[in-house]
């Protein structure tokens, strides 16, 4: 289980940016851009949480804090009771992170990419081999395993990056817009992968703009805007509070209702 409470993160504005004068974004003040001002949500075993919000809402910053790439200014992130803000190395062992940009090493093969990350997560010898082979079979990667990543198609790359993200069997999986720019076939691979995780009881946090995917996969929804999470509940509650059975409409109504549009 992952619990996020009152996360805050600000970035110092450059002098150049400050000299430009008044900005439209209300989060820019006191020489800082307050990217995330108060974000809280939770995701239990076997749940898929959809993280929604307009562009620039603070979703990526929030996910970067979950993945420990960024340290929050305040707030807590607990994974199975461990505060990963204080113990980032534990957080990195517990989280599997996947984004739309595959982030594979082009001059390494798909196999080498996955095995490299497995080794960095401390897997060795037979355990490493068995785990990798199982993933390669599950994701149907055997035909392109030894091809360099720079020569793979987008779908193949995404499969390799999925394998890389979960090779260490993480407690929580975080996905940052994983289907952006992907074709239908590859999107389906990602959706199947998320379903597989859900069935295995792994909590999944899933940031997206595609509400059809949310409808297909998510149990809960968290809506963030202007760095604040103002909704964290079930899909049924999302529709009820948004006064619409259509997720797109409910989302718009929720934003309007909260004074964000």
């Amino acid at each position: 289980m992952i619990e996020v409470k009152a996360l805050k993160k600000r970035f110092k504005l450059t002098k150049e940016h400050q000299q430009k004068g008044k900005s439209k974004d209300v989060r820019e003040h006191d020489g800082y851009f307050h990217s995330v001002q108060n974000v809280s949500f939770s995701c239990s075993q076997g749940e898929v949480l959809g993280l929604l919000g307009p562009n620039g809402a603070g979703k990526t910053t929030t996910l970067r804090m979950l993945s420990t790439a960024l340290t929050p200014d305040s707030g807590h992130i607990h994974i199975n009771g461990q505060n990963i803000v204080k113990k980032p190395l534990i957080g990195r062992k517990s989280i599997g992170f996947l984004s739309g940009s595959t982030g594979l090493y082009g001059r390494l093969s798909a196999r080498e990419n996955v095995e490299y990350f497995a080794k960095l997560h401390g897997l060795k010898g037979k355990t490493l081999k068995l785990r990798c082979e199982a993933l390669f079979d599950m994701l149907d990667m055997t035909s392109f395993l030894d091809k360099r990543a720079e020569h793979l198609s987008t779908g193949m790359k995404q499969k390799a990056s999925i394998a890389r993200a979960v090779v260490h069997q993480p407690d929580v999986v975080v996905l940052d817009e994983p289907t952006t720019g992907l074709d239908i076939m590859t999107t389906q691979t990602v959706i199947n992968f998320i379903r597989g995780l859900k069935n295995n009881g792994t909590p999944v946090i899933f940031s997206t703009h595609h509400l059809d995917e949310v409808a297909l996969l998510c149990d809960r929804i968290c809506v963030i805007d202007k760095g604040v999470s103002f909704f964290d509940d079930s899909i049924a509650q999302f529709k009820a509070q948004g006064n619409s059975e259509e997720l797109n409409q409910a989302f718009m109504n929720l934003l309007q209702g909260a004074g964000h549009v």
Partner: protein
């Protein structure tokens, strides 16, 4: 850390661009360029040496002896055209138009001038803008020989016998007794050249992989995934640093080996005594010492370029930062060549300059091992400090997510 190092090395060996700059360039391109420059230079010198110059003398009657000396010299041919020249300006015009290569204006008869206690002033008109030009030296030599002959005759006529002339003309002869041995002399010359070649190469060998491992990773989006692994930032930086260091040293080693091979090949074909003498004085131990000095320098450069590369947002931005550094590295080497710049306890503390001075001392065979240890320790200390900065840099969100 070693997993990061192994992976970075594997990627580096698969990168054609880096392989080209680190291995192919020093192995093939440098010797080819240097060979080509040497060949073209020697050809140009040979051509200039063999060239026969057309000359014209105004007032040849003032010194028939000199005119005959020029006439019979193998490198000069008398102007055979119909045109006559009688002034300096006419000679200048003839040189410009290409009718003659050199014009000689004999203003007065030197024998007559000497009798009156005066010097005869002759003028030589030629184009001195050519880089390789033997005209003036050859004519000067002929004029000097003739001048000496006239002086000798004049002194005899004054009653000074030939055997006493030398003493009268130069009562004191100072001769040099050099305490420096042959190695020290040659070492002074080539010892200054070696750092010029090696130190920038060490930097070049570090720059290309560093850009790829830092800014390149940021640009390709692989750095963020790497940061999410349970490997500490220190381990990540050390893994990358070792790769850059290895590449830097490989570049310098490959260059030195390739130069040694190419020089030995060249020497086996052509008799090049200067090169033979120069290189025969350097022992295997000297090479080991030079390499030992290059290790901390390579470590300094590797930490520096890695820090720059991590700071840069893109590959191109990193390249822009590296350009002034590549030129700046020559400054401390030039400082080492300044007059009175010797290796001592003070200069041993100046980064890069100290290594350049020490390499010269090693080649000369006059190195102080105490100072050498001091250089290694201070350079290694500086490298460690820079590496610590690099780790700190790598832990800063403002740098990683600029």
């Amino acid at each position: 850390m070693f997993e990061v190092f192994k992976k970075e090395l594997l990627e580096l060996l698969r990168d054609r661009k880096t392989l080209f700059f680190v291995l192919a360039l020093p192995m093939l391109i440098f010797p080819v360029i240097m060979g080509l420059v040497g060949f073209l230079g020697s050809q140009a010198a040979l051509k200039a040496e063999q060239k026969v110059h057309t000359y014209y003398i105004i007032n040849a009657q003032h010194s028939k002896q000199f005119a005959e000396r020029v006439f019979y010299h193998k490198s000069f041919k008398q102007y055979s055209g119909a045109e006559q020249f009688d002034t300096i300006d006419a000679l200048k015009e003839a040189v410009r138009s290409g009718s003659i290569d050199v014009g000689i204006y004999l203003e007065a008869d030197p024998a007559d001038a000497l009798k009156q206690g005066k010097q005869a002033k002759w003028q030589m008109v030629f184009n001195d803008a050519q880089s390789i030009n033997f005209i003036y030296n050859r004519l000067q030599s002929l004029a000097n020989e003739f001048s000496e002959l006239l002086r000798e005759q004049a002194l005899v006529s004054l009653g000074v016998s030939k055997d006493k002339q030398q003493a009268i003309l130069q009562p004191i002869v100072v001769s040099k007794v050099d305490t420096a041995d042959k190695r020290e002399n040659i070492g002074e010359k080539i010892g200054a050249f070696i750092p010029y070649l090696l130190i920038p190469l060490v930097l070049m060998g570090a720059s290309y992989p560093a850009i790829d491992l830092g800014a390149g990773e940021k640009e390709r989006g692989t750095l963020e995934t790497l940061l999410l692994t349970p490997v500490t930032r220190t381990q990540l930086v050390l893994g990358k640093f070792l790769t850059v260091l290895l590449s830097s040293l490989a570049c310098a080693t490959v260059t030195v080996l390739s130069m040694a091979i190419w020089v030995s090949v060249a020497v086996s074909f052509v008799e090049l005594d200067t090169i033979k003498n120069a290189f025969s004085s350097i022992t295997g131990m000297d090479f080991v010492l030079i390499f030992a000095l290059l290790v901390p320098i390579a470590a300094i450069f590797s930490s520096l370029v890695l820090a720059i590369s991590i700071y840069a947002r893109t590959f191109k931005e990193a390249q822009n930062y590296m350009a002034p550094l590549s030129m700046g590295v020559f400054l401390p080497i030039v400082v080492s060549l300044m007059p009175n710049m010797v290796l001592n306890a003070k200069t041993a503390l100046i980064p890069v300059t100290n290594v350049a001075l020490a390499i010269k001392e090693i080649v000369k065979g006059t190195v102080d091992y105490g100072l050498l240890s001091m250089i290694v320790i201070t350079s290694a200390g500086l490298a460690a400090l820079l590496l610590a900065c690099c780790v700190r840099w790598f832990s800063k969100e403002t740098v990683l997510f600029r």
